[in-house]
Amino acid sequence: MASDDNAQKKPEPKEPQKPKAPPSRYIKENNDKRKKKNG
């Protein structure tokens, strides 16, 4: 049982995450501040 617990506690190797695509930007006219889409 104890060995089972230890096995469960071991962190699983992380699967590589697919890179996030660069978002478009929303820029206000008369304002140079750039704001990323979705925050």
Binding site: E15, P16, P19, P22, P23, S24, R25, E29
Partner: protein, 184 residues
């Protein structure tokens, strides 16, 4: 000839739409120059006519007529200026990610497919992302341009009103000597 959807290159189509909306934005920006000039000219003319009108010396009828013309001229002018401001301020345009960002994204995708030992479809991923972003941004910018064009049109219509009532104000001012003779 009918073009089937399968053969249609949506990426090219969306890209063209995006570029077209940015060109339309530039055209709308350029077309603001004339109305801004008109607003300054008309504002100055209304002020000059009102300041130059001899309110106390004129017959009552002439004063009434002048007020009847100058009030709508001023209201039209003020609303035209308001619509001009509305057509110019507060619009947020959407722009594509920069070439460098896309290049970095592509490199990360290549590394990712290598890492998971799968066939490299990074080109397709980048194309799909671009297609979607071009479509979203073209749509967003199109709505902005439509609103902008509508506000500009409203301003131009009001300038026609200003022109009409300004003409009337000028006529009343010019006819001052004749009215004096007529009314004694």
């Amino acid at each position: 000839m009918l073009i089937s959807c399968q053969n249609m290159d949506f990426l090219t189509h969306n890209q063209k739409e995006y570029i077209r909306e940015l060109e339309r934005r530039n055209e709308l920006r350029r077309s603001l120059t004339l109305p801004i000039g008109l607003s300054i000219l008309f504002g100055g003319a209304i002020y000059s006519l009102m300041a130059g009108f001899s309110w106390s010396d004129e017959p009552v009828l002439a004063v009434y007529a002048f007020v009847t013309a100058s009030v709508p001229a001023s209201v039209f002018w003020a609303s035209a200026v308001l619509f001009l401001i509305k057509s110019h301020i507060g619009y947020e345009y959407a722009y594509m990610p920069t070439a460098k960002e896309l290049e970095e994204y592509k490199e990360k995708l290549v590394d990712f497919y290598k890492e998971i030992a799968q066939e490299d479809i990074s080109d397709q991923d980048v194309r799909d992302h671009l297609r979607k972003e071009y479509a979203d941004n073209a749509h967003h910018n199109c709505l902005n341009n439509n609103t902008k064009a509508a506000e500009l049109h409203k301003a131009n219509v009001r300038f026609v009103g200003v022109l009409l009532f300004l003409g009337l104000m000028s006529l009343i001012s010019i006819s001052q000597p004749f009215l004096e003779v007529f009314y004694g």
